[in-house]
């Protein structure tokens, strides 16, 4: 090892008593020793590991939920064929013939576990609510990001985010007690509680999500692009329509997908206001039962580890897969946008 005078490390004209310790140390030790010395700070080590653990635990929990859910769901197929998830041939004693029944009727002499009515229910609620939230949410996001003054935004944005904080049972109660009857009068629907009322309720929770994400993605569009557009003589509206919105289109699509995922996952509002009759229908004014509401409604009285119990887990797994896929889609689309804008 070289032992050499490394006094040159000390800056000139500095009083040695006030110089930083590294200079004093190097005067005594030697440079190669100093440079290879590992610094160990216990506090830093602990914090680092704790943060890593926090991150890992959340992944672990998701993985465990995933495993548990699928383990239970797959038990269902021990006793029931996958075909039953679509429908079941049942002998109708009254008509004296075999009929193909696409019904969810778990408590019955011949239990029927068709997912079709539940999927219909979920989509009849989630789809209209996403369309409504997207139309107003994109408009509102554009307003917040491009038009509103800072002051307006400071008031409006937190107010909108409050919507997301309203407990869904409160929204469900409001839709049930206040909104459902006038809506029936307006649309002259057969059922007071129907998918459309549910969709409007779910809109209240999906809308703020879409607004926030749309606004974020519009604001992520570099200012330079807007300037370029204005400098070419574009008006504000032309700039929004031809530059800002197209540049943010991936973020806007992702916002809609995530809003859709949220709408699919919503349980309480749907359970309270859609009437819960599991029908295979395409009519939004029909009463429906969603995947989520079905679990919530039946989990309370299901017999532990029965066929019915596993069927509910299967419904949960289906829901999980759908939202999981939607989220991955949204993530891919957002990544594409970040690449496109070079952020």
């Amino acid at each position: 090892m070289m032992a050499q005078d490394i006094g040159w490390l000390k800056p000139p004209l500095v009083d040695s008593s006030s110089t930083p310790s590294i200079y004093r140390m190097t005067r005594r030790g030697n440079l190669s020793q100093l440079l290879t010395l590992k610094t160990f700070r216990a506090g830093e080590w602990i914090v680092e590991k704790l943060l890593a653990a926090a991150g890992m635990i959340s992944i672990l929990f998701i993985a465990l939920i995933f495993v548990f859910l699928f383990k239970e769901a797959l038990q269902f197929f021990k006793t029931v064929s996958p075909m039953d998830l679509i429908g079941k041939w049942v002998y109708d004693e009254y008509d004296e013939k075999w009929v193909f029944k696409t019904m969810w009727q778990a408590i019955s002499s011949v239990p029927k576990y068709s997912l079709l009515p539940l999927l219909c229910g979920s989509f009849l609620v989630a789809f209209p609510s996403t369309v409504i939230s997207a139309v107003f949410g994109i408009g509102c996001g554009i307003y917040l990001s491009e038009v509103a003054s800072d002051k307006t935004r400071e008031v409006l944005k937190p107010t909108l985010e409050l919507f997301a904080g309203i407990p869904s049972v409160v929204i469900g109660f409001f839709m049930l007690m206040v909104a459902a009857t006038p809506l029936q009068d307006i649309f002259h629907t057969k059922f007071r509680m129907n998918a459309f009322v549910g969709a409007l309720g779910v809109t209240i929770v999906a809308f703020p999500i879409i607004v926030t994400l749309v606004e974020d993605s519009l604001r992520a569009v570099p200012k330079a692009l807007r300037e370029a557009s204005y400098a070419l003589g574009a008006t504000r509206w032309q700039t929004i329509w031809r530059t800002t919105l197209p540049a943010a289109i991936s973020g806007v699509s992702a916002a809609c997908i995530l809003g859709f995922g949220r709408a699919l996952g919503e349980t309480m509002i749907v359970l309270m206001v859609t009437g819960n009759a599991a029908l295979v229908t395409g009519n939004v004014f029909s009463t429906v039962r969603s995947l989520t509401a079905n679990i919530a409604a039946e989990m309370g009285y299901v017999e532990h580890q029965s066929e019915h119990y596993y069927a509910l887990f299967l419904v949960g797994a289906v829901l999980f897969v759908i939202t999981f896929v939607l989220n991955i889609f949204a993530e891919i689309i957002l990544n594409r946008m970040r690449r496109k804008l070079r952020m």
Binding site: A224, S229, Y230, A231, L232, G233, A234
Partner: protein, 274 residues
């Protein structure tokens, strides 16, 4: 377009800047122009005559107001809240800050190229066609013609003609900047403002842009902000030196660089500060 010849005889007006210029050759004129951002004064009483079909360079240290000055002419400063302007800025004798001026039309007349190349995340074709489309050109063949002409003018046609329908983001920085110049030219402006157009580019791309500026001045009035003294000397006919919002000296480029009148100009161009 009538282009009166400059002769010693018809140089009539004289300003404190020291430049004598025939009124008929003046494209842009400012008188006692001050710009404020809130309480800060970014420009102080600037008088300048900018000549038609010539290159005018604005030099000075960072924060001296040269970019603010440039952005006066297409009113891009309007977009910054709390901006206030005093004095007069005219183009062809028309006060561009008079209340009945249509800013959108003004900006179609005064093109701008920015410091950092900022192509839209669209195809090269759509980038250049953006301005004409705003002006209501929808005919495909007409658009193609404009795009080709602009790209040729911006000296990038040969490099991109085979990939007009690929994203402009795939191009190199220097190519992007020339596409941005083509985009600005596509609306047939009369004035081209360039805010340090080559500051982020390598020497070869810079040389190409400078050559381009030299060609463009035959048709356009060009105002260029630059940090690069050699660049100002190479490309411009007139140079204005700004310091702390003030126009210290404005003269023909060779005079600014050879016989500056003001000590501060001399200090700056010889690199003693800034």
């Amino acid at each position: 377009m009538n282009r009166p010849e400059t002769t010693e005889k018809n140089l009539k007006t004289e300003h404190k800047s020291g430049v004598e210029m025939d009124e008929a050759l003046v494209k842009i004129k400012t008188r006692a122009l001050s710009v404020y951002y809130g309480a800060t004064q970014a420009l102080k009483q600037v008088d300048m005559d900018i000549k038609k079909q010539a290159v005018t360079a604005l030099i000075g240290p960072s924060g001296c107001g040269k970019s603010t000055f440039l952005r006066v002419f297409n009113r891009m400063n309007d977009m910054i809240p709390d901006t206030r302007l005093e004095g007069k800025a005219t183009i062809d004798g028309i006060d561009i800050y008079s209340p009945n001026i249509n800013v959108v039309t003004l900006r179609r007349l005064v093109g701008m190229v920015f410091q950092k190349s900022n192509p839209f995340p669209k195809t090269i074709f759509d980038n250049v066609a953006y301005g004409p489309k705003l002006n209501g050109v929808t005919n495909r063949s007409q658009l193609e013609e404009i795009v080709e002409r602009s790209l040729i003018q911006a000296a990038i046609w040969d490099e991109v003609k085979d990939r007009l329908h690929r994203s402009a983001m795939e191009l190199s920085g220097g190519q992007q900047q020339r596409v941005c110049i083509a985009r600005a030219l596509a609306v047939s402006p009369e004035i081209l403002l360039m805010d340090e157009p080559a500051s982020a580019l390598d020497p070869i791309s810079t040389a190409k842009i400078e050559e381009l500026i030299h060609d463009l001045k035959k048709e356009y009035t060009i105002v260029i902000v630059t940090h690069n003294m050699q660049q100002a000397a190479r490309v411009s006919d007139y140079t204005g030196f700004f310091l702390l919002g003030e126009l210290i000296e404005f003269d023909k480029t060779e005079r600014i660089f050879e016989v500056p009148k003001d000590k501060r100009t001399e200090d700056y161009i010889t690199g003693r500060f800034g």
